[in-house]
Amino acid sequence: MTRIIRSILLFFFLVVFLWRCKEKYVSPYKSTGTGYLVVEGYITGNGPTQFTLSRTVDLSGNGVIPPETKASVQVEGDDNSVFPLTEQGNGIYVRSSMGLNTTTKYRLRIKTSDGKEYLSDAVMYKKTPAIDSVSWTYNGTEGIKLYVNTHDPANATHYYLWQYNETWQYTAPEQSLYKYLRNQNEVVYRPYSEQIYTCWKNAASTKLFLGNSTKLTQDVIYLQQLDQIPANTQPLGILFSILVNQYALTEDGYNFLTLMQKNTESLGSIFDAQPSALRGNIHCLTNPSEQVIGFVSAGTLEQKRLFIYRSQVPDWRYYTSCSLKDTLVGLDSASLIQFFAQQSYIPLEQHYARGGPPDGWTSNVISCADCRLQGGTTTKPDYWPN
């Protein structure tokens, strides 16, 4: 009886309180102001400086962001130094390295192909302290949480931004030792250089990771959380790696990104702040009322890489399997055409009749054996341990 009452009460509570109804919403309004220039990048001297230029689009635009091509982009120092960036395509402008120093302020000048000129405020070139460590914790329900730790002995940095790039190794459920040659309609050994069983996948951070130590007595960032790997998922199937980039920011740069974060990542609870207009430090010289999205910051870049082996988390359970059972494909050319040429099957290994000669190819659909179809590449990164 008590149990029943409890469940009824629990039901009420869930209905009422925690299962606040959240539904997809499509705005009936047509958004208007689009086509503003968006500038993302960080001026750095000890690594490649990269700026990505794009444009804002309509809310209902299908997520296709037009890159801003054929612009001229350059970094200017208040010591009259000029460092032009070169266009790499797709709106990306880079320069491998520049001799910058902390006593000079730098700014970014952009001339777009439509003849407009943009200039950022001159910003301090900040020295970013080194990352002390990238650490992690594991528990069975939440998975792995990754953290970054740093400190500035000079107590001068205070505002930090992190980005990361994760890479992990994984395999397809089944290994294909043979390959089918369509022109010859025959099955041959697959050379190791063409292996499609082991892949490496990359994922860059999609959130803004910001931290500050202004409330602390020392300039220390302890256990600033970055990504979280849900328990028993692919990233830790074999070996996982994360490369963390750390950038020092000015207070204004930090506030700009914090507002962007509030506006775009942390809305939705009852007591969240309302979104508000985002103002950066880049201005259109040609048309001063034109809005530009972006904040130019400058400083050194600090990086740190961490590896996590599956063996370090003994109870990580991730298995890959194929939904279809293996099919035996006959050796005759008609079977080969039917399965490998027409139905996208892939030969896995040779099949032998009991105690006898080979009688066919164990095969399965390509998606079961080609790891690349899960988004990775077969190229092993050069930093990857064996």
């Binding site: 993302e40 506030n255 990542e265 939705g268 207009a277 985002l278």
Partner: protein, 927 residues
């Protein structure tokens, strides 16, 4: 019944005695000397009885209040008696045995009417059969009431009867059963038409011409009564009203219930707890604030908010008073419950237009919540059990008829429920409690003392290690003193505190504890002076000392590296002097004029930042700072505030009213969230932050129908708000040492039309309201660095132009009623993205103009059934059930619409707080 028979038999016995012993009347008349001044008739008669040797027979009820002065030397009995009874409706008869029978109206005659014995027999028969129908029971209680109602009260010294002019009658109206004051009772005479209402203490003061009157007393929920008066001079009369427990037969339709026609004020709404309890609310917990939200002109941003937006004002522009104590946070449990225990609340009065001069300090409205005084006769109590909350309330006399207390408490038991939740919510906690203690004490006839203590506390933590807690603490003492019939004073003092804290220990290095509090100490003295029938003055003064700790950030635990960061405390003094006069020019026209001068001093110790003159306040324009010592007067603001209103009665059922008032506000809540959040901070006006000011002009038309059972009104208003504080984009409001750089001065305007149709009596009662209103803000401060929406008017968060509300209750029987509540409103404005861009690995939304769009419209219907147990008066406990459904149609009313970047993509969501129909059940007992 039995008593009646007893009295009747007694009278009959006396009469028979008189008839049987017939003697000749004594020839020798004794001479009598009496010298009395303002003495009760009983005393005088006693003296006459002694001197004359006659014996008097009379019903004490006929003359117990009659007081008179008499000077007679050596006069015959009959002359003295003639003198005593002249000017009264009493007459006397002397029989031969020297018995004197005093009676009302017709004198007693010797002999019996022809049908005398028959009538007696009939009466006896009824008594014997002892039929106890309910009507009989009612009948049984009648004689006493009838006696009071038919008794003539003689007030004053009749020697002054011939003087011209009017006299004053004052006293308390009380509930006969519990001894609690009856507020808002109408006390009036018909010819000429003079009426007043009892005030919050049940006190009334009425000016009457000398002579005979029928004084009518009416109050909703109480049985109508009247008193027969013969007034010679000033006097006192307390009136006890009977509760209308069961009216089986009739609905009294009365002229004076037309208080909305005759009342001076406009834009005032009063709801008593009985009505509040009928309105269905979520979880079935009667909620004072939710019911206030159904009134025209009152809006809220959403279901998880108890913040009221009255006539376009923001939530912090309401002065919420609970027995004179200011309540800063009126929400419990994320705003799902209000902070007021319905068992303790007596009624709620909302002033949204004519704010009396005695109130000040907030721009939009005053919500005056008064608590009950507690039963002065017996210990009683009540308890209620709901799904998430329980409440208990005990009241009774400490000293019978003199001192009473009421103690109420509420708590939640949601914690164990949360512990049963799936793992991911398991560590969530949410709880609240509140406690009320009120003591009222009558010290003699002229003094009353009231003590109020209030304590509320909320704790919550939704599955992370950040714990939130907030609470109100209030103590007030009030002393009411009646100098004489015409003047009384109320002196009150108290201490209010609101505090919140947030702490997190998840990360040992960053473990912190954030605290904020407001403390205020106040003193008020209020005087009410009924000069004559035409003028009633109110005047007084008040002073309020603020001390705010706007933020302290402290390390929590040893490993914490958090640097203590404590914002300097703020202190200020807000004082006011006021005077108002209610002037009745004629029966039809009355005006009220009030002036309140408010004076504000921002006091040291403090360090005040200085900025380059003529430049926006920003860290870039900061020059230096000035240090002020303790008690130094840093900045003074002061301004007269005007409160004017007029009423003109066109016909008996139609009146027109107009009002104009101005307000000042020196304390501001800073919030960049839509709902009033528990972490909102309050800021005092200082050299950089000017006081908010506002003025409002309003006009209303009031018309009653069907013998005043249906009240209708239309009110229009236009309001201006100056120096309203808004936040700048990306403002940092918590722990900001230079908050002036993150807020903007905004100007606002609001206007609207409010229509109300109300029926408060009968089987079917309730109200319907429609409001059209707009609230627009504009930020054009040249000193601000940022111009919101290009300096043009934009709608405020709570700008919901159309609002239709229906609240109805239908009583099928005395034990079963159904309440329905339906509300529709335009969706509130929101800021929607105007575009999308790609940044930091994700698509992200771009925002521009504030509040340029609206969320979908809001519609909700609630239904509840109130089932009472049997109504026998004498039983141990009375119980009742409330069963209901909140959001009957299950409509997913959006609370907000928002876009969020998740996994690199932008997704739009519509969030509803209650996305389905919510059933509830509540069990209440009274003992």
């Amino acid at each position: 019944m039995n008593r009646t028979i007893y009295y009747r038999s007694l009278i009959i016995a006396c009469l028979l005695f008189a008839i049987n012993r017939v003697h000749a009347q004594n020839d020798r008349q004794p001479l009598i000397t009496v010298h009395f001044k303002d003495t009760s008739m009983a005393v005088i008669l006693k003296e006459v009885e002694l001197q004359s040797g006659h014996q008097f027979y009379y019903d004490t009820a006929d003359l117990d209040t009659t007081r008179l002065s008499i000077q007679e030397d050596q006069q015959p009995l009959e002359k003295v008696l003639g003198e005593i009874f002249s000017g009264t409706d009493l007459s006397y008869f002397i029989d031969r045995q020297q018995h004197i029978f005093i009676s009302k109206g017709e004198p007693v005659h010797e002999g019996l009417p022809a049908d005398f014995f028959e009538r007696t027999v009939v009466n006896r028969d009824t008594a014997r059969t002892g039929v106890s129908t309910r009507d009989d029971l009612e009948e049984a209680s009648k004689p006493q009431v009838a006696t009071l109602e038919n008794k003539l009260y003689v007030i004053g010294d009749k020697s002054t009867a011939d003087l011209p002019g009017v006299i004053n009658l004052a006293g308390f109206v009380r509930d006969a059963k519990t001894g609690e004051p009856v507020v808002g009772a109408s006390i009036y005479i018909d010819k000429p038409r003079i009426g007043v209402a009892s005030d919050q203490y049940g006190y009334y003061s009425i000016s009457l011409p000398r002579g005979r009157h029928i004084l009518n007393i009416q109050s909703i929920g109480m049985r109508d009564t009247r008193r027969l008066l013969l007034v010679y001079g000033d006097g006192k009369m307390n009136i006890d009203l009977q509760t209308q427990v069961l009216t089986l037969k009739k609905v009294t339709v009365s002229a004076e219930k037309a208080s909305n026609i005759r009342r001076m004020e406009m834009g005032v709404q009063k709801i008593d707890i009985k009505t509040i309890k009928q309105v269905p609310v979520v979880f079935g917990e009667a909620d004072v604030l939710r019911v206030v939200m159904t009134l025209p002109g009152v809006k809220t941003v959403g279901e998880a908010s108890t913040g009221l937006n009255v006539r376009g004002g923001s939530a912090d522009q309401n002065l919420v008073l609970f027995n004179d104590a200011t309540i800063y946070n009126t929400a419990h449990f994320f705003g799902l419950f209000s902070a007021f225990n319905p068992e303790v609340v007596k009624d709620v009065e909302l002033y949204k237009s004519s704010i009396p001069a005695r109130f000040g300090g907030r721009l939009s409205s005053v919500l005056d919540i008064s608590s009950r005084e507690g039963n002065k006769k017996n210990i009683t109590g009540s308890a209620g059990i709901g799904l998430l909350t329980s409440r208990l309330n005990i009241e009774g006399p400490l000293v019978k008829d003199k001192t009473s207390f009421i103690l109420g408490g509420r708590t939640t038991y949601a914690n164990w429920l949360l512990a049963n939740l799936p793992d991911q919510y398991k560590h969530s906690r949410a709880s609240f409690y509140d406690l009320n203690l009120n003591i009222s004490h009558a010290m003699g006839k002229k003094d009353n003392l009231y003590f109020t203590g209030y304590l509320s506390q909320d704790h919550f933590n939704l599955n992370n290690d950040t714990t939130y807690g907030y609470g109100n603490r209030n103590i007030s003492v009030k002393w009411k003193h009646i100098f004489n019939n015409k003047i009384y004073s109320v002196v009150a003092g108290g201490y209010d505190k609101y505090q919140y804290n947030i702490s997190s220990t998840e990360n040992p290095v960053n473990a912190y504890r954030l605290g904020f509090d407001i403390n205020q100490l106040y003193f008020k003295a209020h005087f009410n002076y009924f000069l004559n029938a035409n003028h009633t003055f109110e005047f007084g003064l008040s002073t309020l000392r603020y001390k705010l700790h706007p933020g302290s950030y402290q390390p929590e635990g040893k490993p914490s590296l958090v640097a203590p960061d404590v914002l300097q405390p703020e202190q200020a003094l807000e004082s006011a002097l006021y005077l108002s006069d209610k002037y009745t020019i004629s029966n039809a026209l009355s005006v009220e004029g009030g002036i309140r001068y408010s004076l504000y001093n921002y006091l040291g110790p403090s360090v005040v930042n200085n900025y380059a003159p003529g430049q926006p306040y920003s860290t870039g324009t900061f020059i230096d700072s000035t240090r002020y010592g303790a008690g130094a007067n840093i900045k003074t603001y002061g301004k007269p505030e005007f409160r004017l209103s007029a009423r003109y009665i066109l016909t008996e059922n139609l009146s027109i009213k107009a009002g104009y008032n101005t307000q000042q506000q020196y304390i501001h809540a800073l919030s960049n969230t839509t709902a009033m959040a528990p972490t909102d901070i309050w800021k005092l006006s200082d050299p950089h932050i000017k006081p908010q000011s506002g003025d409002q002009v309003s006009l209303g038309l009031y018309r009653n129908f069907k013998s005043n059972t249906i009240e209708t009104s239309v009110e229009v208003y236009y309001k201006r708000i100056r120096n309203f504080l808004d936040y700048s984009s990306g403002a940092q409001l918590i722990l900001n040492h230079h908050i002036e750089t993150d807020v903007l001065n905004t100007q606002g305007k609001a206007y609207g039309v409010e229509l109300l149709i109300k029926k408060l009596t009968g089987k079917f009662n309730g109200w319907f309201s429609y409001t059209y209103s707009r609230t627009l803000l504009r930020q054009d401060d040249p000193n601000a660095g940022e111009i919101i929406n290009h300096g043009e008017y934009y709608p405020a968060n709570y700008d919901k132009p159309h609002d239709v509300t229906f609240v109805g209750n239908y009583r099928f029987t005395h034990r079963f009623s159904i309440s329905l509540n339906a509300t529709y409103s335009t969706g509130r404005p929101i800021t929607l993205p105007i575009g999308v861009f790609y940044y930091a690995g994700s698509y992200r939304t771009l925002y521009a103009d504030r509040n340029a769009y609206r969320i979908p419209d809001y519609f909700r219907t609630d239904l509840s059934m109130n089932i009472d147990g049997n109504h026998k008066v004498h039983q141990l406990t009375h119980n009742s059930w409330t069963i209901g459904v909140y959001n009957l149609t299950g409509r997913k009313n959006p609370y907000s619409v928002y876009y969020v970047s998740e996994g690199g993509a932008v997704n739009g969501y519509k969030l509803s707080i209650f996305g389905s129909a919510i059933p509830y059940v509540n069990y209440n007992i009274r003992f």
